[in-house]
Structures are given as structure tokens and as C-alpha cells.
């Protein structure tokens, strides 16, 4: 009995310790950031240093473009490699190598991902390939996309391995080919967990600044072009927070608050959309 209570108390304590910093960060952001939010913040682009007013519309749109590109790269590659690890390559040397690589990739500092994307896209100049050779949204998206792959891949693998063997056998027993059973039964059964993995990866890269420094570069003006340098909320927050102007500091706080709220909104939206098809009696 005593041990029961002690373990419960420890678990509650741990939960509080996890939630407290989060609550503090969010509360502090609200206090510092909410006051600088107004309509202009969402519809205007930044004004030159020293002037008052302006907004972060370009950074909000830019973050959207960058995360869109990153998801287009990270989600399919991550899920695909996760399916390979759990279903087709189980126990093979290649699978072990891929799993090891993914784990190492997960620990690589994000600035190195920026350098990688720089070397892949910003640095090389190839004739007839106009998207290479300069800073661009594409380069930033690739850097973030590569960062998403290991998280999506490993969580996909874990979730697929949790699908009971009996479900796979049921599909095979009906004469369903293996590939079809994997895609339509196993992956579908594991999809809530796989989506959670994708959302974790998405939320993680949404706040990344370092990989964007010499890929997306940042942009003072409105741009949603994949081929041009693009603004991003984390970049803008970074630039403003090291500036000497009090007004830009306040903009940085506002930007941080907007970034967190947008991540929460995006994750909730995906959850809402993907949970609509769930049937009664299915957990």
C-alpha cells in the first residue's frame, strides 16, 4: 500500500515537473508577446529598423512554405523507410544499417543539417537546374525535411511492430497479397501512432532556426516563391531578438507566441481531420 502511494506520488511529481516549465514558457510568452499582437502583425511585412509598426506576415507565410516542403520530403520518406524496417526488411543487414543511420541522424546537430542542405542545393551551380546555386525556400525545406525523416521513420517502425501478428495473419489468410496487406491493413491499423510521429517531427522542425540560417536565409519582403530566399518565424525571432531596438524585441516575443499557437493549431487540425473516420467502439 505504502509503495503504491509512493509510486503514484512520484509519477504525479514527474508529471508536474514536466508540465511546469511548459506552462511557464507559455505564460511568459503570453505576457510578453500578446501585447505586440495586432492585425498589422499578421498582414504587414517588417519595416526598416528604427521605424515603428510593421508585422510578420512574410515570416508566417514563409514558415508555412518551408514546413510544407519539409513535410513533403520528410513524411513520405520517413513512413516509407519505417515500413521497410518493420515489414519487409526485418532482420536484414540493410534494415539494421538503416535503423542505425536513422538513430545517428536523430542526434546530428541541426546546424549540420543546414550545412548539408547548403552543400546539396545552395552551393552547386548546375546549368539547366535553376533551383540550385542560391539561397532558397527549397534549400530550407530540404534541411528541415531531412531532420524529420529519422523521427517519422523510427516512430512508424515502432507503431507497425505494435500491430498484432494475428491481424497480419488474418489478411494473409484471406489470400491478400503481402504488399496489399501491409498497406491496407497493417499501416492503416497503426496510422494513429504514425500520425503522432509525423506531428512530433513537424512540431520539432517548426521551431528550428539553425538549419535555415544559410539555406532559407530570411527575407524582409513578402515572398512565397520556392526559388527565392524566404522569411521564417524562427529566423525572424532570432534576428529581432539580437537587434538593439526595443520594438523589435517586442515583435520577437509576439513571433514566438504566434509560432507556438500555430504549431498547436496545425497539430490539432491534423488530429481532428484524421480522427473523423474512426468508428464506434474502436479505440
Amino acid at each position: 500500500m505504502v509503495t503504491d502511494h509512493a509510486v503514484t506520488a512520484l509519477a504525479v511529481l514527474a508529471t508536474i515537473l514536466v508540465i511546469l516549465p511548459l506552462a511557464f514558457i507559455f505564460g511568459y510568452l503570453l505576457i510578453k508577446g500578446a501585447s505586440s499582437l495586432n492585425l498589422n502583425f499578421f498582414i504587414k511585412v517588417p519595416v526598416p529598423e528604427g521605424e515603428l509598426g510593421g508585422g510578420m506576415a512574410n515570416a508566417i507565410a514563409g514558415s508555412g512554405v518551408l514546413l510544407g516542403i519539409a513535410s513533403l520530403i520528410g513524411v513520405p520518406l520517413g513512413i516509407g523507410s519505417g515500413i521497410f524496417l518493420a515489414e519487409f526488411g526485418r532482420g536484414t543487414r540493410l534494415a539494421n544499417a538503416v535503423r542505425f543511420t536513422a538513430d545517428v541522424l536523430n542526434g546530428v546537430p541541426s546546424i549540420v543539417m543546414g550545412v548539408t542542405a547548403y552543400a546539396l542545393i545552395v552551393f552547386p551551380r548546375v546549368r539547366f537546374l535553376p533551383f540550385l546555386g542560391h539561397f532558397s525556400a527549397l534549400a530550407g525545406g530540404v534541411a528541415l525535411g531531412i531532420m524529420m525523416i529519422p523521427t517519422v521513420c523510427r516512430s512508424t517502425e515502432e507503431m507497425l511492430l505494435m500491430v498484432p501478428h494475428s491481424i497480419r495473419e488474418a489478411a494473409l489468410g484471406l489470400g491478400v497479397p503481402n504488399w496489399r496487406s501491409t498497406l491496407s491493413i497493417t499501416v492503416k491499423t497503426a496510422s494513429p501512432g504514425i500520425i503522432t510521429g509525423c506531428m512530433l517531427a513537424f512540431a520539432r522542425v517548426a521551431g528550428e532556426t539553425a538549419p535555415l540560417l544559410f539555406t532559407a536565409l530570411g527575407n524582409e519582403f513578402w515572398s512565397t516563391s520556392v526559388n527565392d530566399p524566404i522569411a521564417a518565424l524562427p529566423l525572424q525571432i532570432f534576428n529581432y531578438s539580437i537587434s538593439p531596438y526595443e520594438d523589435q524585441h517586442r515583435m520577437a516575443w509576439g513571433g514566438a507566441l504566434v509560432l507556438i499557437v500555430l504549431i498547436v493549431l496545425a497539430v490539432s487540425l491534423v488530429r481532428f481531420v484524421t480522427s473523423r473516420g474512426v468508428l464506434k467502439g474502436n479505440s
Partner: protein, 252 residues
């Protein structure tokens, strides 16, 4: 219609473990055949060899001949074709949890590319009626998940799912061992009704169940088939001493 199954010199391995040794057996069409024996005797492996599920385990191996309605399933057919002709019901009910009741029954057809809505509706209804589940679920077909049903209903759903692909043989690997007595009785009634249309092979630990549902019974021990005869003969006057010992509860 059901078809007969002829098994010649069937051997099966899991890794270096020789789980089935020289099985020879003729299972008659449109009858219920029960396979009994202690745990680990090879009876489950045997039914898994009849629909080529055994080989889905990477360390498993099979030799010998199995003919289903004359077709040599290891020489002349692909595994997926065989599994459509030989339905299987597993020990634990295993409906697809993300699918509705309707989609569970239609799964075998839909996942093989069959998409005629009207025909699917008919097949789903017929299969659920054949598995004696229609009246209990007909109002929730597309609303409820297969996993929301009770254990006994889930198992009848799995039977409906197996019937929907129109097999000739139905393999049942201890289909009632995870169910309560009422659900078990329903499954047994069902087996009795289904044998006019299908050849049924049922693995069971429950000897009374074998005696109740099966015309033929085979006794497996340590990977070999000790005796195969009419159920009446096996339970009243077995030829082999080991069968008699098992039936009378002296081991296993």
C-alpha cells in the same frame, strides 16, 4: 461446394524442429474433420500447411504433397490463390480493428480489387447470414467497428469474413477455445450447418467438441498422425493404445 483434401508424405519444420513427420491423410469433401492431440503435437502446423500459411514464417519449411480438389497446391498454385480457396479461422478472433463490420466481411474481396457495390452488399449479407450474425449486426454494419463486438460475435464475424471469399475448404484452428460456452455452442451449430457447403477441418483441444461436431477424427502425437478414423470409432474403440490413453485422459 466442398472438395476433398489428399495429403501425402507431408513433413514440416520450424527451424531444425521437425514438427510434422510423414503425414498421410484423406479428408473427405463436405464433412467435418476434427484433429485432436496434446499441445505441440503438430495439429495447428498441419492445418497451416493446407493453406500454405506455414511458410509465411521465415524459418519454416514444408515437403510433401497436398491436393485440394485434385490441385497440387505446392506444385501448381501460388499461395494467395490457395488461401482464397481455403479459408481460415484462427484461435483468437482477429477482426480488423480499423474497419467497420461491413468492411471486415468485404475485406477479402475489396483488398483483392473487387469493387462491385451491389454484389458486395449481397455477399456481405449472405456471409453474415451464413455465420448466424446478420440479425445481431444488420443495423450497425457500417457504423460500428468489428472490434466493438463481443468475443463470440467477433469470431462469427471472422467466419463470415472467411466465407465471403467463397472458399471450398474452411480451416478452424481451435475456433472456440477463447469463447464462453454459449458462444461455443453457437459456433458448433454453425459448423454443423456449414458442412453442406464446405469441407471443414477443425483443430480442437476439447474432445467433447470433436465428438459433437465431427464425422472424422484424427489423433496427432509428437508430430505424427497416430490414428485417423470415424469419430465414433476413435472415441469408442480406438485401434491404437496411445489414442485410447489420450481419450481416457491418461496423458496430455
Amino acid at each position: 461446394m466442398g472438395v476433398s483434401i489428399e495429403v501425402q508424405n507431408l513433413n514440416a519444420w520450424y527451424g531444425s524442429n521437425h514438427t510434422l513427420q510423414d503425414i498421410n491423410l484423406n479428408i473427405p469433401a463436405n464433412h467435418v474433420t476434427a484433429l485432436i492431440g496434446p499441445s505441440g503435437c503438430g495439429k495447428s502446423t498441419f492445418v497451416r500447411c493446407i493453406n500454405r500459411m506455414h511458410e509465411t514464417n521465415p524459418i519454416a519449411r514444408v515437403t510433401g504433397t497436398v491436393r485440394i480438389g485434385g490441385l497440387d497446391i505446392y506444385a501448381d498454385a501460388r499461395p494467395v490463390e490457395i488461401r482464397r480457396r481455403v479459408g481460415m479461422v484462427f484461435q483468437r478472433p482477429n477482426p480488423f480493428p480499423t474497419m467497420s463490420i461491413y468492411d471486415n466481411v468485404a475485406a477479402g474481396l475489396k483488398l483483392n480489387g473487387y469493387s462491385n457495390r451491389k454484389r458486395l452488399d449481397e455477399i456481405v449479407e449472405r456471409s453474415l447470414k451464413n455465420s448466424a450474425l446478420w440479425d445481431e449486426v444488420k443495423d450497425d454494419l457500417k457504423k460500428k467497428s468489428g472490434a466493438s463486438l463481443s468475443g463470440g460475435q467477433q469470431q462469427r464475424l471472422c467466419i463470415a469474413r472467411a466465407l465471403a471469399v467463397d472458399p471450398e475448404v474452411l480451416l478452424m484452428d481451435e475456433p472456440a477455445s477463447a469463447l464462453d460456452p454459449v458462444s461455443t455452442a453457437k459456433i458448433e451449430d454453425l459448423i454443423f450447418q456449414l458442412k453442406s457447403q464446405y469441407t471443414i477441418v477443425i483443430v480442437t483441444h476439447n474432445m467433447q467438441q470433436a465428438a459433437r461436431v465431427a464425422e472424422k477424427t484424427g489423433f496427432f502425437l509428437n508430430g505424427r498422425m497416430v490414428e485417423f478414423d470415424s469419430t465414433h470409432k476413435i472415441f469408442t474403440n480406438p485401434s491404437d493404445k496411445r489414442t485410447e490413453d489420450y481419450i481416457t485422459g491418461r496423458f496430455g
